[in-house]
């Protein structure tokens, strides 16, 4: 269920690191609890983010959730597809529902996060 190459946060964001580039999104657990996503607030390109700084918000009909940056870096790309099709976050949260890409400021940030196995265990504990 949860891609092995990704790392995960307690707030249910995932990050996929490739060299000094990091792709960020929210997990399947998060999208299930949010319900149908209607809008994703994306940051401006060039925004510098620290670990756990708010990236933006994701809105469903009845709730708003903040998305926190799992790693520190600078926003170099945002997923513009989400403007016309926010449902991608529900349908493919780990793939087409990605939110933004950062240029990593500190390569060590991701290592501090949970791997897929640890995250699955964490989520199972929440649902109990």
């Amino acid at each position: 269920m949860y891609p092995q190459t990704y790392r995960y946060t307690k707030d249910h964001e995932w990050v996929e690191v490739k060299g000094d580039s990091a792709k960020v999104g929210i997990t399947d657990y998060a999208q299930k609890h949010l319900g149908d996503v209607v809008y994703v607030e994306l940051p401006a390109l060039g925004t510098k983010l620290a670990v756990h700084q708010t990236i933006g918000t994701i809105e469903s009909v009845k709730a708003v959730s903040e998305v926190f940056s799992p790693v520190s870096g600078e926003v170099v790309e945002v997923n513009g597809e989400l403007n016309a099709a926010p449902e991608a976050v529900n349908q493919d949260p780990h793939g087409k529902g990605w939110i933004l890409r950062l240029k990593l400021a500190a390569p060590g940030d991701a290592a501090a996060l949970m791997d897929a196995a640890a995250y699955e265990k964490y989520v199972a504990g929440l649902e109990a």
């Binding site: 149908d36 209607v38 809008y39 809105e59 469903s60 009909v61 009845k62 926010p86 449902e87």
Partner: protein, 483 residues
Amino acid sequence: MIREPLIFEISEPGKRAYTLPALDVPGPADALAGLPVRAEIPGFPQVSEVEVVRHFTRLSQQNYCVDLGIYPLGSCTMKYNPKINEKVAALLGFAASHPLAPADTVQGDLEVLRLVEDYMCEIAGMDACTLQPAAGAQGELTGMMLIRACLEERGDPRKYVLVPDSAHGTNPSSAHLCGYTVKEIKSNEGGTVDLEDLARQMTDEVAALMVTNPNTLGVFEYDICKIAEIVHAKGGFLYMDGANMNALTGKCRPGDMGVDVLHINLHKTFSTPHGGGGPGAGPVAVKRALEPFLPVPRVAGTSGALILDYVRPKSIGRVKSFYGNFGVILKALAYIWSLGPDGLRETAEIAVLNANYIRRSLDKDYYLKYTTATLHECVFSDKFQKEHGVSNLDIAKRLIDYGVHPPTMSFPLIVHGALMIEPTETESKRDLDQFIEIMITIAREAETDPELLRTAPHATVVRRLDETGAARNPILKWEHRKT
């Protein structure tokens, strides 16, 4: 039932519903020179009076309302709206009053304001009152501004406001609009403010604690006097959200419990009608220390020679134009005069009786997260029904099939899948029993036929609406299409 189109869909050039008297002064074309005259508005309605009357009459038949049946919305106090109140509020002497009229020509209006201010103070146990705020939320904002202004005068406005996790969303948003950072206070297992958490978080950087009493679970904050002590000991103010005053009128008074400032919802406790979403009124009553900061103008002088006093150097200013939702205030005055002191007390007692009757009748079939004694409302959750895949939303939609308005849902946030029920004092036992029977029937249906609930309602003019689609692709007005 006839599905009624939008007015724009039945509109056609050449139809008129109203005729003005002929112009009795010269009307030369050059009178418009220098004015930016607008083009025609394509699609602006042109219909006949018959069409207007049928349009709105048919639309009215698609609305549930208090005049139809029980409206058990927790924290909304949807009590019956007395019809004599509507009649007196519409008297021409009041309706035609211009707010800038000379004071000696509107002594009746000023007397109304003076009387209702005094009555609010007596009922709430406070020293002074403003009727300016147009709704509860605006009252909250006003109250918090008063606190801030007073603290500023003392030298330090402070940084934080404490709000219980069970609070209504307007509480933190009002505090925020005052420039405060909101910190949450946990509720204990009884559902009330955790005194230890409060003591820990109440520092001299905290301007106020905002409390609702009874709280949003319908539970009276038993330790309210202790809560006030903790807050006052550190120089802070105790703000009370008066949304649930219907449980208290004539039984106890916030001012006697250490509350420094509260807002009251006239459209809840004092029977003024909700009108589909307003207008309401949110008077704010304060203790003497906050009186100098009240919004301007204040009614001053003696009966028969009342004036509006604008010379109030410490006032926070005004939160809206003029003096408040006067037409609403008139109805509250009618209500207070109608009921008198015993009637107001009886209101609270019967509101509590009705709510406890429902609570006791439903507590086998619905889960009560908090077993603490409740007053005028109670909060169940969908926990039992969730075992069959039925949520509080499904229960609500099925209630609609039985011709009853659902309770408040999903609030307070501390009860997952909440169903907050407040019948108010004006419901008959027959209506209460009918509501109870329907709720129990639905609990049974959840076990035997959950799909029926998940697809409810079935009997309404529209069935479940696509709220996701509405938010993803907003269509917020009718568009004229050129042909």
